[in-house]
Symmetry: C2
Subunit: 374 residues, 2 copies
DNA sequence: ATATCATATTGCGATATTGAAATATATGAG
DNA sequence: CTCATATATTTCAATATCGCAATATGATAT
């Protein structure tokens, strides 16, 4: 399209490429945008004039005229990223150049309800800004449970009392006059991986999210897959064992269940306050319980890898505390259980992002959606 | 882009939309192309002048000026679609309006080799044209085994002696001076489903292909998924049983295995000459063997549906001879085995396309790739 | 009848984007 | 020092495409 809308879209694409560090000069940016160098130069001039981009010196290649390096201007504004569940609200401030400049966490009380969560989100966004300059450009929210992204509504979430058809966007719009964008928890993590994690170089990857339940997010051709019932990746609800009946896989493979199995406690035992720390202390264990967990994960990865054939599987959530050995053991065992994968074991990596992956991803979402004014 | 290349691309997109029947007038076409009505009018004028499109009367809607209906001109040329495996070569002729106007099948002798297959393909393409008018515009090939689509080379196929690194495109280019385009068997079937089958209205669907082996093709956002090792959908190589070791799923679920189980013969028994007919005669059976097969397929569909959440699963290959009951039984059993799917059972349908789906898909591939000359 | 509304197509001036050529800056060979 | 080659950016006329206004056609209400 040749509409002004399309121009703005192209300008924002240009900024995304420069921010990501993939495009460093006008010429490279032109290739990335699949636009001509002349057009790209015109864009860059506009964006420099509007204060969104700046030149940062020259870089000499092997030959020829040096590149005039481009970067995004940190002070051109900032984005708020929020992720929450029944236990906590996390908030990050990301400046216009994509740097994480502040992180806040608020533990929710046991009796938190819908109103208090919304209030807390608004409070954290305000607090993110305190003492800093620059304009808020957008708010991204990663919300748990079932979401209606178009309406900006949280449809249902079992672990927060009264969380049904909550108009998150509308409520926050009372306090902040910027675009507010809502997405599922696991899906924003997929975005975080693209911007801040190992997905930077990849067009295809899979997020493994064993947390309270067990879902996965699949990115193919740079796009998150979404299904008819928004149930894509809901593999936590597979029957378990795989050729049995009754139970759900997430009962055996969610983070709490893995801790229980490794710690050797019954399912009625209380969970530790800090699951991540508790798991870390178990990262060196071995024996039957460890093998059992690895084996179960390998079964799942085998199925996934022959179906999705992704170049990387990023493990997220508390189980990353189990360290690299957990991932390599699973990959090895996958190749053993699934002979077809002998020569192409899945590349499983613990995400380099921490517990704030969701909030970072929410901020990424806001960054991706942002467009210059006119 | 303002390039002539992009203009041609848009013209071919316009033709694809008109041919598919989705776009019936200039206005509707503009929406489909996401271009402005004025631009679209300009395109349509050009394409009418070049003889690719024609107006076919008016259609009065509920209100307003009637649509000036558009259609593709059948005589503007034709496409050849070829699919083959170790047993037969199939060829279809599809005219410019997307109508299948001729179908040829050639059974290969037991001792067929690489050269004879290539020769037969060339002969069939020539025969497709006999007695008809119009120019050949493109050739699509659906080839079995491992393919290098970019090079137009058949890399490997176990069931044809000497089929290794066969330069299919180069060989055929000696006889035909039109674009020749190569794709995997199952993948062209996915295209056939989009153009001629139930995928016309769908952006997302899955092809189930239990034939010699068992692979699936997944279409999401209108695009076929492809993986790092071109192994996306190779679920026939899942271990079987699912939580066991050793065997591959396709040994139990490929079309021949299903026939054996339903017919109650051992795995050493010879296969019937016409597997499809043999299966059709078994479509009314019931009892343990039937339940067993349905159960196994339901296990697989349950896993797939919670992962892909597709609105439709199209069954292809000989097993379609088992009729609608086979599909509905599987869907029912899936919902039973996988409680999470109780309210969203998979929509499994026997493809409306017959044995020539592959050849039709190959022709579709050629149609999609075609672009007007200048 | 006639006004008004909804939709489809055409015409035209405005503009976003291109391709080609010109310019800028580096390396290396003779 | 000069020339050839390589890469990056800038300039500019040419044009594909857009938005908008005008025109066409018929449905419905008054």
């Amino acid at each position: 399209m040749r509409s002004p809308e399309e121009l703005r879209h192209n300008l924002s694409r240009a900024i995304l490429h420069v921010r990501s560090g993939h495009a460093t000069s006008r010429r490279v940016l032109a290739d990335a945008l699949r636009l001509s160098p002349s057009t790209t130069g015109y864009y860059v001039d506009q964006l420099i004039a509007s204060g969104h981009l700046a030149e940062s010196g020259l870089e000499q290649g092997r030959m020829g005229r040096p590149k005039r390096m481009l970067r995004t201007v940190p002070g051109a504004g900032w984005f708020a990223g929020i992720e929450f569940n029944a236990e906590r609200v996390q908030a990050v401030r990301v400046d216009f150049s994509g740097a994480q400049t502040r992180t806040l966490t608020h533990r929710l009380p046991e009796d938190a309800d819908t109103a208090s969560v919304l209030q807390e989100i608004a409070r954290l966004i305000t607090e993110l800004h305190e003492g800093r300059k620059g304009a808020l450009l957008g708010i991204g929210i990663g919300a748990p449970g079932l979401i209606d992204p178009a309406a900006g509504v949280g449809v249902h979430y079992a672990f927060l009392p009264g969380w049904r058809n909550v108009p998150v966007r509308a409520e926050l719009a009372k306090h902040f006059e910027v675009p507010i964008i809502l997405k599922n928890n696991l899906r924003v993590i997929a975005l975080a991986e693209r911007w801040f994690g190992g997905g930077r170089e990849l067009d295809d990857y899979v997020i493994l999210g064993p947390r309270r339940g067990f879902g996965i997010a699949v990115v193919k051709h740079g796009r998150l897959l979404d299904g008819q019932h928004h149930a894509t990746g809901e593999i936590g609800r597979w029957v378990w064992p795989l050729n049995g009946e009754g139970g759900e896989m997430q009962q055996a493979l969610c983070s709490a269940a893995v801790w229980r199995r490794l710690a050797g406690v019954t399912s009625t035992a209380p969970l530790p306050g800090d699951l991540r720390a508790a798991l870390q202390s178990l990262a060196q264990v071995d024996g039957e319980a460890w093998q059992g967990v690895v084996n179960d994960y390998a079964r799942v990865l085998g199925l996934l890898h022959l179906l999705l054939d992704a170049p990387a599987y990023f493990l997220h959530g508390p189980l990353t505390a189990l360290g690299r050995r957990f991932c390599t053991d699973i990959a090895l065992q996958t190749a053993r259980l699934m002979p077809a994968l002998k020569d192409m074991p899945p590349n499983i990596v613990a995400s380099s992002l921490g517990d704030d992956a969701g909030a970072l991803g929410a901020a990424s979402h806001a960054m991706e959606a942002w467009q210059p004014r006119s």
